[in-house]
Each structure stands twice: as structure tokens, then as C-alpha cells.
């Protein structure tokens, strides 16, 4: 009897809000292998194509007075360049290409995911975890390469009283290893939550009495999501810079 009640509650919505995150093979049916072309592969390829179009094709003319596409790519380049210089310092600029790549990939994946019927690749923790683990490994390796064992000084806060230092060291170690987790979950969680909220309101639009309110809410949340898509890419890039600064200057 309880089963019957549960089944009735679940059929209330026209579709499930999490259905949009299902990874499907693009051609035919069947299980997803590592080599299967899925909707994730497709939208990632589209992301790369868009970046290529903006940064390579857009910059091809190299005009002194830039056109529209060239202005956008120059703006993006200057924006990230300034951010890396401000946050990670002058010697952080060696890693500017990496941070630029991360930012462009995430920002384009987020914006493409906002198109109707699109698939948001960054809403999957599997995708963002790879990006975050790459950042974590890079930063740790750079730290050990530049400072040797002196990099461990990042955990030993020499400005704190001596009694407190072991406790602080423990907290610092924990917070250091939680970084890839929070770094990846922040992006994936934000994208997933936003898109799920839009879908929940979209399902409410089928109910006549609240349909106008629901459509208004979708519009408002969509506008918020456009903002969030940019801010999350920016935050991902800026946190990479912060971690990089820690690796380059571990003594604080």
C-alpha cells in the first residue's frame, strides 16, 4: 500500500528535474563505455570549437583597430592576465596559459549549457573533479619543485604563537586536502542546482493555476544563472591563482 502512495507522488511532476543530467550515447542505445560518443563528448567538443572560434579565428586578422570578435578575445585575455598578476603575483604569470585555458573551458561549458536542450558538462562532478585534481596536483608539484621540503612551511604558520602552531598545522593540512573536493563540488553543485531549479519550475508550468508565476520564475532564475555561469568560472580561476600563490610563496 505504501508503494502505491510513493508511486503516485513521483508521477506528480511531468518529468524529473534530474533527468537532464543523464549521460546518454549519442548514436544508438546500449551501455556507455569509455570510447562511446555521448552527449557529454558532443558538448565538450562544441566548447572546444567555440574557444577555437573566439581565440584563434577571432584573432586571425590581428588588426590594430580590433573588430568585434577580436575585442572580445582581447578583453578576455586582458581580464585573466590582470587577475593572475594581481592575485598570484608577477612570477605567477608563468602559469597564465594554464589558468586561461581553465577559465575559457569552464566559462564556455557553462554558457553552452544554458542553451535550451543543451547538456551542461560542468554539472558533472566527474568533469569538475578532473579539473580540480589537475589543479591540486599541479600546485603541489610546483610547490615541491620550487621549494623542496620547504614547501611544507605552508602548514607551519610562523606568525602564530608556538603553542598554537601544531593545532593550526593540523587544520591547515586538513584544509589543504579538502581543496580539490570543495574546488570541484562548488562548480558542479552550482551548475547542477541552478539547472535543476529551472527544471523544477518548468515542471510546475504544466499546472494552469501557477503557470504564469512559474514562467516568470524561470526567466528570473535563468538571468541569475547567466550571472552564476560567469562568476563560477571566474571563482574557479581565481581560486587556482590563490592556490598557486600559496605554492610559490609558502611562508606566511
Amino acid at each position: 500500500m505504501a508503494e502505491h502512495v510513493i508511486a503516485e507522488v513521483e508521477s506528480e511532476l511531468a518529468f524529473h528535474p534530474m533527468d537532464q543530467f543523464i549521460v546518454k550515447p549519442l548514436f544508438g542505445e546500449g551501455p556507455v563505455h569509455w570510447y562511446t560518443v555521448t552527449n557529454v563528448t558532443f558538448w565538450m567538443a562544441l566548447t572546444i570549437l567555440c574557444i577555437y572560434g573566439l581565440m584563434v579565428l577571432g584573432m586571425r586578422s590581428r588588426a590594430m583597430v580590433p573588430g568585434r570578435t577580436q575585442s572580445i578575445s582581447e578583453l578576455a585575455y586582458g581580464f585573466i592576465h590582470k587577475m593572475v598578476e594581481d592575485v598570484a603575483g608577477k612570477d605567477g604569470l608563468h602559469y597564465f596559459p594554464y589558468i586561461m585555458t581553465l577559465f575559457l573551458f569552464i566559462v564556455f561549458a557553462n554558457f553552452l549549457g544554458l542553451l535550451p536542450m543543451a547538456f551542461t558538462t560542468t554539472s558533472h562532478i566527474a568533469v569538475t573533479a578532473v579539473l580540480a585534481m589537475a589543479v591540486f596536483l599541479t600546485v603541489t608539484l610546483v610547490g615541491f619543485y620550487k621549494h623542496g621540503l620547504g614547501f611544507l612551511g605552508v602548514f607551519w604558520i610562523s606568525s602564530a604563537p608556538l603553542v598554537l602552531r601544531p593545532v593550526l598545522a593540523l587544520i591547515e593540512v586538513i584544509s589543504y586536502f579538502v581543496r580539490p573536493l570543495s574546488h570541484s563540488i562548488r562548480l558542479a553543485g552550482n551548475m547542477m542546482a541552478g539547472h535543476a531549479v529551472i527544471k523544477v519550475f518548468a515542471a510546475f508550468a504544466a499546472i494552469l493555476a501557477i503557470s504564469p508565476f512559474s514562467i516568470l520564475a524561470i526567466t528570473a532564475i535563468y538571468a541569475l544563472e547567466v550571472l552564476v555561469a560567469f562568476i563560477q568560472a571566474y571563482v574557479f580561476a581565481i581560486l587556482t591563482c590563490v592556490y598557486l600563490k600559496d605554492a610559490l610563496h609558502p611562508h606566511h
Binding site: V5, D86, I185, R186, M192, A193, I231, V235, L239, V242
Partner: protein, 85 residues
């Protein structure tokens, strides 16, 4: 049985998981307070000294990101309870 509903075993676990998922959403309130606190303090500082505000927007976003991450963790807990338990 005459209108009586018995809940046991996996259904009880499912029920507990859904209640827990709902309770996990209270964590969002904490994140909201945290983000509001960061932005509010940034704004009150920025209005006192507008010339220094431009250089500190990046710091504000870092603060927002750290405060928000913990709210996202509660969302993650809710998702785990809904789909993984």
C-alpha cells in the same frame, strides 16, 4: 488490512533519507547568511572608501566562494541521501 499503512525495512530507510535530505537544506540558510555577511561588509567598506573598492572585488569573490562552498556541501548531502542511500 483496513486502511492501515505499515512501513518497514527499505521503505523506512527511504523515508528517513528523504527527511534527512529535507533537513540538509537548512544548511543553505547558513551559506546565505555567510554570503550576505561578506557582501554587506564589503559594501559598507566600499562606500566609506570607494577608491579602494575596485582592487578588492577579487578578494570579495574569494570570500563568497569559501562561504558558499559549505552551503553547496549541504546540497551534496541532500543529493547523496536522495540518490545514493
Amino acid at each position: 488490512m483496513n486502511g492501515e499503512i505499515t512501513i518497514a525495512g527499505p521503505e523506512l530507510i527511504k523515508m528517513g533519507a528523504y527527511i534527512g535530505a529535507g533537513l540538509a537544506c537548512t544548511g543553505m540558510g547558513g551559506a546565505a547568511v555567510g554570503v550576505g555577511h561578506v557582501v554587506g561588509n564589503f559594501l559598507s567598506g566600499a562606500l566609506r572608501n570607494p577608491s579602494a573598492a575596485g582592487g578588492q572585488t577579487a578578494t570579495m569573490f574569494i570570500g563568497i566562494a569559501f562561504a558558499e562552498a559549505l552551503g553547496i556541501f549541504s546540497f551534496l548531502v541532500a543529493l547523496l541521501l536522495m540518490f545514493a542511500v
